[in-house]
Symmetry: C2
Subunit: 227 residues, 2 copies
DNA sequence: GTAACCAAGATTGTTAACAATCTAGTTGCC
DNA sequence: GGCAACTAGATTGTTAACAATCTTGGTTAC
């Protein structure tokens, strides 16, 4: 029980509050910290060479982000996410990213259009090469690019929060058989609709794409229960 | 500069962290704390009889909620909200509350249907009586009811955050000439569409309503610049 | 053998003192 | 008279010690 943090070995010295926040958040998003795993303050102090006050503030912030659970006098632990919650998060993403896609279609410039279309090729080569890691990365870059092009700060902040909560599921969805091919087709459709400048079409396409992710989540759940 | 907190006189003793958070948040939402006003830790300590650590934690949480701004070694102050930001927040609300309306239409029970329709009468009497305060309250109750009926926790949390950020603008929008009448008609339309069980219609109606609020915000801005 | 109870260790919550930083007013110099 | 540097006060950031609470393991009574 005492030895549980050997795997995190890349950033041993981050003294500030934000350092601890990003380190723990990245650890959770990368799966180094398992859902439900305890996060004792003393361990984080010695790991990141930060003061206990800083660790404490960081944990409070992570709790408000929804990825850490704290109980009085019982400490903090990584918040587990149920399938229902993952579905809810994806539904919320669908409407907010739909808004971003619509705004992006209205506001996109010529330069952004070319750099956005370049991501289509990245997706294609990743899927053709069977590189799931590269596919996942390009995947996120598409969503990130559209979020940036939309220039909608409020939606961007909301998506940041939603993304940190759902990343673990993204990994697994990408591993479904045939999923990368379907996802690629949908992403390219999204890219083209945004580039076309048709706000309504862009929103519809983006929402349809994320609703298909919801379906994939349910599919994933079925597969898990089969075992 | 030293005498600036006499107006807050209702809750002088709240020792816990959450107490300070809700007290300051309510103070900001009710307009007792003006945008840009400083919030020195020492003042909050003596006002709410809380320890400095509690005040500090509370300010951190309020910052993450987006209603307080903090600068290193320069303290906290109430975050001012520009018109552009108010528009963005309302746009975000439009899509998220649209999701709630759609889910609510699918999940509403018979009991909820009757209690939701009861709010229509509340709106009507408030508008007929010219009671802006009652109108605003019934207004919020409609949105709250639909958010509850939807049983979408993630969307609910997001809306809580958005609402705390935009409440000050709600007040002023309700004061536009003719606005209560328009708002009432839209709200009743929203209520009926949710009760009908048509998810798509409910979403469209809710979004149209909030987009009309966006128009009202722009109208409000024009009126202000006229003076 | 089981269950309740108690005590020691571990973990978190709270408070207070100290250090660092910023702001405003003042003084001195050009 | 104006500008720059300095000092005192105010305000926030940080750390460490203390208090309260929970968990765990063993012991004892039945």
């Amino acid at each position: 029980m005492a030895a549980s943090f050997e795997t995190a070995s890349d950033e041993p010295s981050t003294a500030t509050v934000d350092g601890v926040v990003t380190a723990v958040r990245d650890g959770i998003m990368q799966g180094r910290y398992a859902p439900g795993q305890r996060l004792p303050e003393a361990d984080l102090v010695s790991l990141y060479q930060a003061s206990r006050g800083a660790v404490r503030t960081a944990l409070a912030q992570l709790e408000s982000e929804g990825i850490v659970l704290r109980e009085r006098n019982r400490g903090a632990r990584v918040r587990p996410i149920s399938l229902d919650e993952a579905v809810e998060i994806t539904e919320a993403r669908a409407v907010v990213e739909g808004l971003c896609a619509a705004k992006a279609a209205q506001r996109i410039t010529a330069d952004e259009r070319t750099s956005l279309r370049a991501l289509s090729d990245e997706l294609r080569t990743a899927v053709e090469g069977g590189d799931v890691m590269a596919y996942t990365r390009a995947n996120q870059e598409v969503h990130r690019a559209i979020r940036d092009i939309s220039r909608h700060e409020t939606a961007g902040i909301m998506l940041d929060r939603l993304r940190t909560q759902s990343v673990r599921y993204h990994y697994t969805v990408a591993l479904l058989p045939g999923r990368p091919a379907v996802g690629m087709a949908e992403h390219i459709e999204v890219i083209e609709s945004v580039c076309s400048g048709d706000a309504d079409l862009a929103e519809q396409t983006m929402r349809a794409h994320l609703m298909s992710v919801v379906d994939a989540l349910h599919q994933l759940d079925k597969n898990l229960h089969q075992w």
